[in-house]
């Protein structure tokens, strides 16, 4: 570089460069080791905030694992998001029992991607349950404004369940590059995804540990004994031609918001993203149970207090109907729960209320028993 005479060209010796490369490599390995030691072992999973997405999924997993030990051979589990209003307590209290113990591993806000990773650890042999019941919005695919394939919440639900080998597949399952990158780095270095959980733990470690202990004592009972809200949507009227709703005066802003978001909209453009997403993840679940005794049952959940007319719904594909051709997959009668699609059975535009949940739970239990037949008998289709 010198203008004036300078010593001959010297470069960094090869050994020195190698040493630097080895040191950096060692640092990276140590980083991954540290991350794995903390976040890929039981250590941190056991102290996750119970009210966080990851903590909630871990509690569900823990509760259902315990239930597996107590329940006999005729165990059934339901999966779904917050719309899946199945309550085991209601069915357990019925005087007439079907012979099947039906549990729920549903998690609010979850989707088939989360169900796949949850099931993989809930049922590692893919043979524990007599049936797994998935509550879905429809057997046909209708893209909505919200695309579950780009829902990064899946990372936060699944984070404790993800293995290093899942990283690429999990990240690539998201749609946009930014979310793929966020999922990739979170799945690779879990500390990034668990930042806020860890920071909250460091702020109040003893409080967290106490709460975890309390949850381990009482959470199964809290969830089992949970009673749904009795409020309903009676009085709701919708003019579908103008997409305007009239609400009874006692209806809350929250209830109205769900009506606007869930019901009052034109048909969204259909680009097949939901079909691809369902095809990938439900397909993966079905594949896992291909050679199993476990039946995969899909049920169409009651659509809402009022049902959107057909001309506002565009459906171009039907992934779940297609899956029905696979062995072990059964679709419940899609009109089975149409009787619950009334304002008196819903607490808002999406979720059933106490009455709705009670009727739904009983009907679902009967339908499962019908599909599976009497315990020990060959299953019906």
């Amino acid at each position: 570089m010198a203008i004036a005479p300078s010593p001959p060209l010297q470069t960094t010796p090869v050994r020195q460069r190698r040493r630097i490369a080895f040191t950096l490599l060692a640092a990276l390995l140590l980083l991954f080791g540290l991350d794995a030691l903390l976040f890929r072992t039981h250590f941190y999973t056991s102290i996750l905030e119970p009210d966080s997405s990851a903590g909630l999924l871990e509690l569900v997993l823990w509760r259902e694992k315990m239930a597996q030990q107590k329940a006999g051979d005729n165990l059934v589990v339901t999966l779904g998001n917050s719309r899946m209003g199945f309550m085991p307590r209601i069915v357990d209290q019925l005087p007439r029992q079907t012979g099947y113990a039906i549990r729920t591993a549903g998690v609010a806000g979850s989707d088939p991607r989360t169900w796949y990773y949850l099931l993989r650890d809930l049922d590692p042999t893919a043979n524990r349950y007599r049936a797994i019941v998935f509550g879905v919005d429809d057997y046909d695919d209708e893209d909505q404004a919200f695309h579950p394939d780009d829902d990064i919440r899946a990372l936060h639900y699944c984070i404790a369940r993800l293995r290093l080998s899942d990283t690429l597949q999990f990240a690539r399952s998201f749609h946009s590059r930014d979310v793929q990158w966020e999922a990739f780095r979170g799945a690779l270095l879990k500390g990034i995804a668990l930042q806020s959980d860890l920071q909250a733990f460091l702020s109040h470690p003893l409080k967290r540990l106490d709460y975890i202990r309390l949850c381990h004592r009482s959470w199964p009972d809290w969830t089992y004994d949970y009673v749904e809200s009795p409020r309903n949507m009676v009085g709701l009227q919708i003019d579908w031609s103008t997409l305007k709703a009239s609400f009874p005066p006692e209806m809350t802003a929250e209830q109205k918001d769900t009506v606007h978001g869930w019901l009052l909209h034109e048909a969204w453009p259909q680009d097949g993203r939901l079909a691809r997403f369902f095809g990938a993840w439900l397909g993966r679940i079905v594949d896992r149970y291909r050679a199993s005794r476990t039946k995969i049952i899909f049920v169409r959940l009651p659509r809402g207090p009022l049902v959107r007319p057909d001309y506002l719904v565009k459906k171009r594909s039907h992934t779940i109907r297609d899956l029905a051709s696979r062995p072990n997959v059964v679709l419940a009668n899609e009109h089975l729960f149409d009787v619950l699609e009334h304002p008196e059975f819903f607490k808002d535009a999406m979720h059933m209320n106490r009455d709705g949940v009670e009727r739904f739970s009983i009907m679902l239990s009967d339908e499962v028993a019908r599909i599976l037949g009497p315990p020990g008998a060959p299953a019906a289709r």
Binding site: I3, T23, A27, E182, L198, S203, H204
Partner: protein, 463 residues
């Protein structure tokens, strides 16, 4: 192109690869092109300004060397300084002066307002350029003959936008007698880059979130505890942010075979304000000492002149940071504190005594520095006064979470270890596994504390 982005690290990797793969004669051209690309990636429209200042001071340097001592020589120096200060004044202070003039003339606030975008790093590279011209004038520096060398001195990308302010003699010593970095240089460079990144992402940006929330809504956050925690959060932010940037700049320069001066030496362990300025933004405080304080007479003309010189130096140092009365007051506040210390200390040098009084002195110094930061951070003078009032009345609540306090505790413990045991140097001499473990811990710190998605710019980029 922020130092803490993937974009910058790709850029750095390419520059390093090209630099070491090229014949030696080409390397400075590679650095020059890379530096202009780096500057242009912020705002390419200011490259002509940078070039103009480079040409002016390069020419002034050559001219000063040829002109014999006397009034003509002085005229050349004054012309060069006027050009530098003119550009700096126009871009940085025009609107400040305009609004004050409007106030004096009883005109609307925006009567003389111009929509001026401040060129990135102008305060740093003009000071660096001026120091070169003054050094040539004083005969302490040979004028640079090769314009490429001079251009590189002004625009060298590791320190172009936020320092440290590098002296010409040190830079050209490295450039003209360039040696490949030793193993220790490389180890130190890599560790400094990792340390700087950790300071910025895991510490500064976390404290920035708290400080920004507080200063965004001061009236909504009353009480002394709230105010102090908001201000301390800013104190932590600015230290970790600026020293993190500087660490990275020094580290990057080391990888390229250049040696920048240390800019921070654990300033919050200072036991007096004088001590604080020996530890905080050292390249600026020594610049102000060498080119302003000493030029004004320093402490050679009696006590009162010393106090006056201290005040003037700090006032101008404050104004260097930004065109607002807040910075003037911040500078004046530090000037006053330095003068008061001088009254009690006389001409005795500052001693660093770690005796039983030290924690009290350090705590008092820390509190005084935090009070100063109020003027530095607040949006304007009324907000500064509002924060100061809140710092001494009411109750409020702690804005910092426990884990923030734990971060401060860890940083304090590491600072004490470094101060007393030279932990950094020991680490460089330690076996590879210890060094790699330290790097891994820093990366882990970024993983679990780093603000990764929000792009919080470096505080000093605005200067």
């Amino acid at each position: 192109m922020l130092f803490n982005t993937a974009h910058f690290f790709v850029f750095l990797a390419i520059v390093l690869a090209l630099f070491y793969a090229s014949p030696r004669a080409l390397r400075k051209y590679i650095l020059l092109v890379a530096s202009y690309y780096f500057y242009g990636s912020w705002n390419y429209r200011f490259i002509p300004l940078l070039l103009t200042l480079t040409v002016i001071d390069y020419t002034a340097g050559r001219w000063l060397e040829r002109v014999p001592p006397g009034p003509r020589r002085k005229t050349v120096l004054i012309l060069s300084l006027c050009a530098n200060l003119g550009f700096l004044g126009f871009f940085k202070f025009y609107n400040f002066l305009g609004s004050n003039l409007a106030w004096v003339l009883d005109k609307p606030d925006h009567a003389f307002f111009l929509n001026i975008v401040l060129p990135l790093g102008i305060s740093f590279h003009t000071f660096q350029s001026m120091s070169y011209v003054v050094d040539v004038y004083r005969g302490e520096q040979q004028a640079v003959r090769n314009p490429i060398d001079y251009a590189l001195f002004i625009c060298f990308f590791p320190q172009l936008v936020a320092g440290p302010i590098v002296r010409a003699r040190n830079f050209f010593q490295d450039l003209w007698h360039w040696q490949p970095p030793s193993a220790e240089d490389v180890s130190r460079g890599v560790l400094l880059i990792a340390l700087g990144l950790t300071k910025k992402m895991a510490f500064a940006d976390q404290f920035a979130k708290v400080a920004n929330d507080y200063f965004k809504n001061v009236s909504g956050n009353p009480g002394w505890l709230t105010a102090w925690s908001g201000v301390v959060a800013f104190g932590m932010q600015i230290y970790f942010d600026f020293s993190g940037y500087t660490d990275m700049a020094i580290g990057i320069a080391k990888l390229l075979g250049f040696h920048f001066p240390v800019n921070f030496r654990r300033p919050y362990l200072a036991s007096s304000i004088t001590d604080f300025w020996h530890r905080w933004h050292i390249s600026l405080s020594t610049w102000l000492r060498d080119y302003l304080y000493i030029s004004l007479g320093g402490n050679r003309h009696g006590r009162w002149m010393t106090y006056r010189n201290l005040m003037l130096t700090m006032l101008l140092g404050g104004l260097w940071h930004g065109a607002s009365w807040n910075f003037v007051i911040w500078g004046g506040y530090h000037g006053a504190l330095l003068s008061v210390e001088r009254v009690f200390r006389g001409n005795r040098p500052v001693r660093e005594n770690w005796n039983w009084l030290y924690p009290l002195k350090a705590l008092a110094t820390f509190a005084l520095v935090m009070i100063g930061w109020v003027f530095f951070r607040a949006a304007d003078l009324p907000q500064s006064l509002q924060v100061l009032r809140q710092m001494f009345r009411g109750h409020g609540h702690l804005l910092l979470a426990n884990w923030h306090l734990e971060l401060i505790g860890i940083a304090l413990a590491l600072a004490v270890v470094e101060e007393k045991l030279d932990g950094f140097d020991r680490l460089l001499k330690a076996p590879m596994l210890a060094y790699a473990s330290a790097l891994a811990l820093m990366f882990f710190c970024i993983e679990v504390f780093g603000v990764i998605d929000a792009s919080i710019p470096f505080v000093y980029f605005q200067f």
